[in-house]
């Protein structure tokens, strides 16, 4: 079943990358969100998929039930989601600021900073 998700992750990444190559800065941002979702999924898939056995330990046990899901990638992804969130917000407002400053959302017209010197 992992193979299906390999396909999905690849497709999502491809869509995200295509968006990140566009001239519209907001669409670039959408591409970034898509890629970050896809990569989180990729880490998840690389840690193997388990159905219906979360890494929790019953209150009367010392060990999780056999065949429990791999907890380490979950912890890593959880961290990645929150960090990604912070950075996406930052990028979002950076894009907002850039659009306001340049009066356009076209990245090819945003050369102000480079030519000013």
């Amino acid at each position: 079943m992992e193979f299906l998700w390999c396909l999905v992750v690849g497709l999502m990444t491809a869509c995200g990358v295509f968006l990140m190559l566009e001239r519209h800065i907001v669409r670039f941002l959408f591409g970034m969100i898509l890629v970050s979702n896809a990569i989180n999924l990729a880490i998840f898939v690389a840690g193997r998929l388990t159905r219906g056995n979360p890494p929790l330990i019953a209150s009367d046990a010392l060990l999780p039930a056999a065949g429990y899901a791999n907890p380490l990638p979950q912890a890593l992804i959880l961290t990645a989601i929150v960090i990604g969130f912070g950075l996406l917000l930052f990028t979002l407002l950076l894009a907002y600021r850039a659009i306001k400053e340049f009066g356009t959302a076209d990245m090819d017209k945003m050369q102000h900073a480079e030519t000013e010197q």
């Binding site: 979360p54 929790l56 209150s59 959880l78 929150v82 969130f85 912070g86 917000l89 407002l93 907002y96």
Partner: protein, 130 residues
């Protein structure tokens, strides 16, 4: 956004969500939950309140400015990490006193840091843009 029904229910829902977020924070060590999730729920609660009222209203209710929450969160987490050093253990090892331990304190720090940072962005964005 300013219908009376929405405004009144927003207040109630905010309080409920805040209680729920503290519940998720405290039970996080043994069940799904924890500092990040609880913090995000609290932020959503405040976002609801902000939409029903104004950013200033939320700021008043918070008493301390959001950066103070974020900063104290990081400091609390750091403190929880430094505490074991006084007992001759490495940085960030868990110390336990019955059911309460330094990892819980650490999670509270994370909780506050998430609330402070995201609220900081949310309130500023709303104020700047409108």
């Amino acid at each position: 956004m300013s219908s009376i029904i929405f405004r009144t229910s927003a207040h109630i829902v905010t309080v409920l969500m805040l209680v729920f977020s503290v519940y998720l924070l405290l039970r996080g060590h043994n069940n799904p939950g924890g500092g990040f999730i609880a913090g995000l729920i609290a932020v959503i609660a405040f976002a609801l309140l902000m939409l029903a009222e104004t950013p200033d209203y939320v700021r008043e209710r918070l008493i301390y400015p959001p950066p103070a929450f974020a900063g104290s969160g990081v400091l609390i987490a750091l403190f929880a990490g430094l505490l074991p050093l006084f007992f001759g253990q490495p940085f960030l090892s868990g110390l336990w006193l019955g059911k309460i331990g330094s990892p819980l304190l650490f999670d509270v720090g994370v909780y506050l840091a998430v609330i402070g940072s995201v609220l900081m962005i949310l309130l500023n964005v709303e104020e700047e843009l409108s």
